[in-house]
Amino acid sequence: MDEASAPEPDRAEPGDSVIATHALTKRYRGGQLAVDGLDLTVPAGSVFGFLGPNGSGKTTTIRMLMGLIEPTSGTARVLGRPMPRSSRAVLPHVGALIEGPALYGFLSGRDNLIRYDAADPTADPRTRRARVAAALERVGLMAAAGKKARAYSLGMKQRLGLAAALLQPRRLLVLDEPTNGLDPQGMREIRSLVRELASDGTTVFLSSHLLDEIEQVCTHAAVMAQGRLITQGAVSDLAAGARGRLVVTTPDAGEAARVLKEQGAADVVVAEDRVTAEPPDRDLAEVNAALVTAGVRVRGFGVERASLEDAFVALTGEGFDVAG
């Protein structure tokens, strides 16, 4: 645990990954298998969404990556070093928000950050006040910095937890459900903060159970369910896995459905003035022309992109908010 931060040269990271686990497994003492043979690869510079229902093993994985929990078997490398053995070399480069913020209620927001910064051996005490002020500024908490943390709202606590993760320049940010307890305005602010950090080159590992949140900010994603990794990859690839649907809006729905079938579209569904179908393998302009030629009055014609939610349902065959 106390491996020195000696200048052992950086090992070549396979594929330049910031997090790489191999067959990572955690079985708790009760026999419960929380994480089962996880092979996770987080590319450097990505905003990586870590998805899964509550109880799917996300938090246990994050705790193993942060050296808080010893894996039962398998390996985890963070920033190219094995965890938890290299905690002392790796963790100063990592900012983390794990399972919500935890604060000293009797200390002010500012003093909480000073306390956490004092626990970091690489943090320079001479720049501590300035860095704390900058972190408070960044999460918009400057006005409440002197208030006791006990009096903070959930959203303010969440912001303070984020500020603690931003006390130093980081190479990796691990944010476990960062928008929990925030109002829509706060959520938007956090998302833009995440994008800003990512554009500075920080890799962001973001766990969430909110699909649209992942879809809005992440470049890559992995999906877990019941301790196993279901899929991982670029968000665009994941969504492409579930194909988009052709949507035709028309008052002549019955006729439109007939023409679409004729044109080779499968799984045609009619709902009032909306006809949807799997797009056929031909130029959609021709499909539209065929509709018009058949006298179908077309109000709208287009392909709805598949959402990550569609992809998730396609992968698991179940709704998303099912607790493992």
């Binding site: 645990m1 106390d2 931060s5 000696a6 200048p7 052992e8 040269p9 950086d10 705790r63 942060m66 050296g67 808080l68 929990i69 010893e70 920033l79 190219g80 070093r81 905690s87 002392r88 070399a89 790796v90 963790l91 100063p92 480069h93 990592v94 983390a96 794990i98 399972e99 919500g100 913020p101 935890a102 604060l103 000293y104 209620g105 009797f106 200390l107 000073i114 306390r115 956490y116 910064d117 004092a118 626990a119 970091d120 051996p121 690489t122 320079d124 005490p125 001479r126 720049t127 603690a164 320049p169 190479r171």
Partner: protein, 300 residues
Amino acid sequence: MSRAETAVPRELGEVRTPSPLWTFGLLRSELVTTFRRWRTLALLAVLAAVPVLVGIAVKIETSDGSSAGPGRGGGGGGPAFIAQITNNGLFLVFTALAATLPFFLPMAIGVVAGDAIAGEANAGTLRYLLVAPAGRTRLLLTKYATVLAFCLVATLVVAASALAVGAVLFPLGDLTTISGTRISFADGLGRALLIALVVAASLIGIAALGLFISTLTNSGIAAMATTVGLLISVQILDQIPQLHALQPYFFSHYWLSFADLMRDPVYWDDLTKNLGLQALYAAVFGSAAWARFTARDITA
């Protein structure tokens, strides 16, 4: 403190080398955090109040000119030295320490030590200290050092409060030792300080025990209650004559040996046994706490 560099670390291995003094920075943070806790201050306030109560009680009881202590009203005799307080306020220091050592002082230590790790786990702050990364061994050492500092502060608070109350309510001057010899007031003050230090050192054992219990659970309250419960149990068992073979190994067995510092010459036998026993407890339970804390899954 010299710094290797303050540049933004981008590559691993290029981290600013922590100054060896960093551990003291963590210790300072720990001390500040502990002593700013309302609970810590309340414990110290209770400890400071004990000498005031004893002083006032003795003053009222002896206002008719009679002497306090044994022989009056068939009472049990009260804590050591209580009979001499009316002659010399300095004896209130010894009395107050003798009155607080069996229970009030170790209870306060039990609360602070029991809360040390378990309280942080309970609040969730432990995981953030560890990913900072404070380092488990260093954090544990820092916690133990802070509990020991609290032992010293708590004892000195009792002694200082007793000295102040004694000076206000009773005369001060040369004093008579248990052996019957006379020593000067300055010499007496020196011995009072020495006694306070020995009393503080007597608490090392329960501090280590409390810290070990604190690593076993995620509930600060449970750790405090267990530590204080053990303290009471041991105090009771120490009174049962059938257990005399075991009693020399109870952390509280030689606690009141500090009175031997008031003999002339000082009788060191039990004093050294006490300090040796405290060191043994610190070694055994300190190692146990370390073994447990460095291997434990932090799930809170």
